[in-house]
């Protein structure tokens, strides 16, 4: 096995899988273009071929020299020692930090920005390990106020309103209040 680690094998598998999947999908748009000899698939397939080739080179490098950084590589220093997990709790906490924002993004369409944001801000602080209720409440309100003040009141930026009751009604109330404020000043 040379100097291969499990992550080296996984990486090689990941890149080759991407190359194979995308190559297979490329047949779905393999149509000729009258004015261009290489068609719509020429460029992506060259990239996929190179990707597979370089992935094998990467695998061979890891096999023969290990996966530590090459000398003289810029920006590699910070990642030289990846963090080792010692308990399942750490996996869970990191997983929460990764998944929460994605859940927030997925909820934007039904829930909207105005209702979903304060909950997300508080949850992300908890996921970061913050447990002081007062700190979480104060900072959630502060961040929410800054965002509403800057983007809704000053810059008039359109933000997702949601399409589900009662979230849509909350957004409508916020926007109505904003219009009334505009009329007052």
């Amino acid at each position: 096995m040379g100097k291969l680690s499990r992550s080296d094998i996984l990486e090689a598998f990941f890149w080759l899988l991407i190359a194979v999947i995308f190559f297979a999908v490329s047949f779905s748009f393999n149509q000729p273009i009258e004015i261009y000899k290489f068609g719509a698939t020429g460029w992506p397939r060259v990239i996929l071929f190179l990707m597979a080739l370089v992935a094998l080179g990467n695998f061979y490098h890891a096999y023969s020299k290990g996966s530590k950084a090459q000398e003289g590589r810029v920006g590699a220093k910070e990642n030289d020692e990846p963090i080792e997990y010692t308990s399942t709790g750490q996996y869970f906490k990191t997983g929460m930090v990764l998944i929460l924002p994605l859940l927030y993004a997925l909820s934007l369409k039904p829930v909207g920005f105005y209702s979903g944001t304060p909950i997300f801000i508080a949850l992300i602080m908890i996921a970061w390990g913050e447990r002081r209720v007062r700190f979480i409440l104060t900072n959630t309100i502060l961040i929410y106020a800054i965002l509403i003040g800057l983007f809704m009141l000053v810059l008039n930026a359109p933000l997702p309103q949601g399409n589900m009751s009662p979230f849509y009604d909350i957004s409508a109330f916020m926007l109505k209040t904003k219009t009334q404020l505009d009329q007052m000043f």
Binding site: V25, Q31, A55, R73, D80, M125, G129, L159
Partner: protein, 496 residues
């Protein structure tokens, strides 16, 4: 030229409302550039509809000023938090962030302020004196083969400076190139890799992808450190670099001005490639190559001088040929069109006052970076004192808004967080995020120009090499790749 410049200055500072717009542009660009999670593009996207109420000169001038100051502002977050405000600030983080970790944030930010101003002012001066002849030269000598060759060279440089190994550097660039193929192909308009989602027909938008790869992945990296108890707050420091420290890098500054200007003048290339090439050349010519990436002042200087030197140059293809060099200059085209104008050679004859207000505003905006930037910097360094438990949700929220506003699609916010997760996993494994982003940005430009070039030369690759600029760039790119391939096989790893 001087008469026109003075006339532009008089118009700019003769009207209080125009002065107000100028000041707003300077402060807005710096502020949005320097807030992690949003960028000058966020501000520009929000302001675009409002420019309909301004005069054409005021509208274009506002965007030109935001472009200059926002390009500098993005360096602040790159240095302080390892979150480049824009792709053109990515190479600044290579050395800027390690300097912050060593307690030298003040020196890095101070160098960025000064070099951004020098690069920008030099570029503005050349732009004012030579826009028309340079545009003529570019028309005669630069075609799709040259642009493709420069993209190839730029990607070769980018792959050789990022990632834990050369293989990972190349894989990063190739991933970016692959992501760029999602959406319609640039020749026939055929949908590629959209997996049935009609929203993906327009491709992956730059802004959410960039925010995800840079800002969100950095938050995740810091969160992981926090979870494992390895998080340490960056060290606070406001010591600026001395004159002698900066003077020692005068050659790097001059070299980066040339590199930045050359990249900026080419349509579609812009400041991002300029910054990578400026940084790459600094590494190439240095006697202490191994010090780059560990907190070397020259890295910050080279990258920041080059990207600001490209801002003035990017106005040349925009104003003289009507070809935008990046996302922000593309928005400027929209400002022109809102006022029934088309940027191009005729603008110089039909609206000379507009051109000279823009030129004068860019010159003064770059000067402002020096004075306002120094004051702003002293304040903004205090961001380092804010607890990350507060900054993290703030940055994530700002990034969400920034991603959503550019197209008004929730899909973009989802794409941003997916890019953040991918970026986090790839960074843990030693891949280069700037490499991915550069591949993403240059992929479409590269493919489009390759296709046009191939059609031009009737698919005869030999004709490519009858064009001197194209030949030089391709040979330089191939040599760069061969050199890194040699090091991949014959150089030792740090620890094996």
């Amino acid at each position: 030229m001087i008469e026109n410049f003075l006339a532009g200055t008089a118009t700019l500072f003769g009207d209080p409302f125009t002065i107000g717009i100028f000041v707003f542009g300077v402060l807005g660009g710096m502020l949005f550039g320097a807030i992690p999670g949003v960028s000058m593009l966020t501000l520009a996207a929000i302001l675009l509809p409002f420019t309909a109420d301004l005069s054409p000169a005021q509208g274009v001038m506002l965007f030109a000023v935001i472009y200059c100051t926002g390009t500098y502002g993005g360096a602040i977050t790159a240095i302080l938090f390892n979150i480049p405000g824009a792709p053109e600030n990515a190479p600044t983080a290579f050395d800027g962030y390690p300097m912050t970790q060593k307690g030298m944030a003040g020196k890095a930010v101070g160098a960025a302020v000064l070099c951004s101003a020098i690069g920008g002012v030099a570029s503005a001066l050349v732009m004012m004196s030579a826009t028309e002849p340079l545009a003529q030269w570019a028309i005669m000598n630069i075609g799709p083969p040259e642009i493709f060759a420069l993209v190839f060279f730029g990607l070769a440089v980018a792959s050789s400076v990022g990632g834990r190994t050369i293989w990972k550097g190349w894989l990063s660039v190739l991933l970016g190139l692959l992501i760029a193929t999602i959406g319609q192909d640039p020749v026939g308009g055929i949908n590629r890799f959209n997996f049935g989602y009609s929203d993906l027909a327009a491709g992956i938008a730059f802004v959410p992808a960039i925010l995800g790869f840079f800002a969100v992945s950095e938050i995740f990296i810091q969160a992981e450190k926090n979870v494992s108890g390895k998080y340490s707050a960056p060290k606070f420091n406001v010591d600026f670099p001395s004159f002698l420290e900066l003077w020692a890098h005068k050659i790097a500054v001059v070299r980066s001005i040339f590199v930045g200007f050359f990249c900026g003048i080419l349509p579609g290339i812009g400041a991002t490639l300029a910054a990578f090439m400026g940084y790459g050349e600094a590494v190439r010519w240095s006697k202490n190559k191994s010090e780059f990436g560990t907190g070397k002042l020259e890295g910050v200087i080279s990258s920041e001088t080059a990207n600001n030197a490209a801002t003035g140059a990017a106005m040349i293809p925009l104003l003289a040929l009507g070809l935008p060099g990046g996302a922000l200059t593309a928005m400027m085209v929209a400002v022109f069109q809102m006022h029934d104008l088309e940027p191009g050679p005729l603008v110089f004859y039909n609206s000379p006052e507009l051109i000279w207000i823009v030129f004068a505003a860019m010159f003064y905006a770059n000067l402002s970076i020096l004075f306002v930037g120094l004051i702003e910097t002293k304040t903004i360094l205090y961001l380092l004192k804010i607890p990350f438990q507060f900054l993290a949700p703030m940055i994530l929220m700002l990034a969400s808004i920034g991603a959503y506003i550019s197209r008004g699609l929730v899909l973009d916010v989802i794409v941003m967080f997916i890019a953040g997760i991918i970026g986090f996993l790839l960074r843990r494994s030693g891949y280069s995020i700037p490499g991915i982003v550069l591949g993403l940005i240059l992929g479409k430009i590269g493919e489009q120009n390759f296709a046009q070039g191939m059609q031009m030369v009737h698919y005869d690759l030999g004709t490519y090499f009858s064009r001197p600029i194209c030949t030089i760039l391709i040979v330089a790119g191939v040599l760069t790749l061969l050199k890194s391939l040699h090091s991949a096989f014959f150089q030792k790893s740090k620890v094996t």
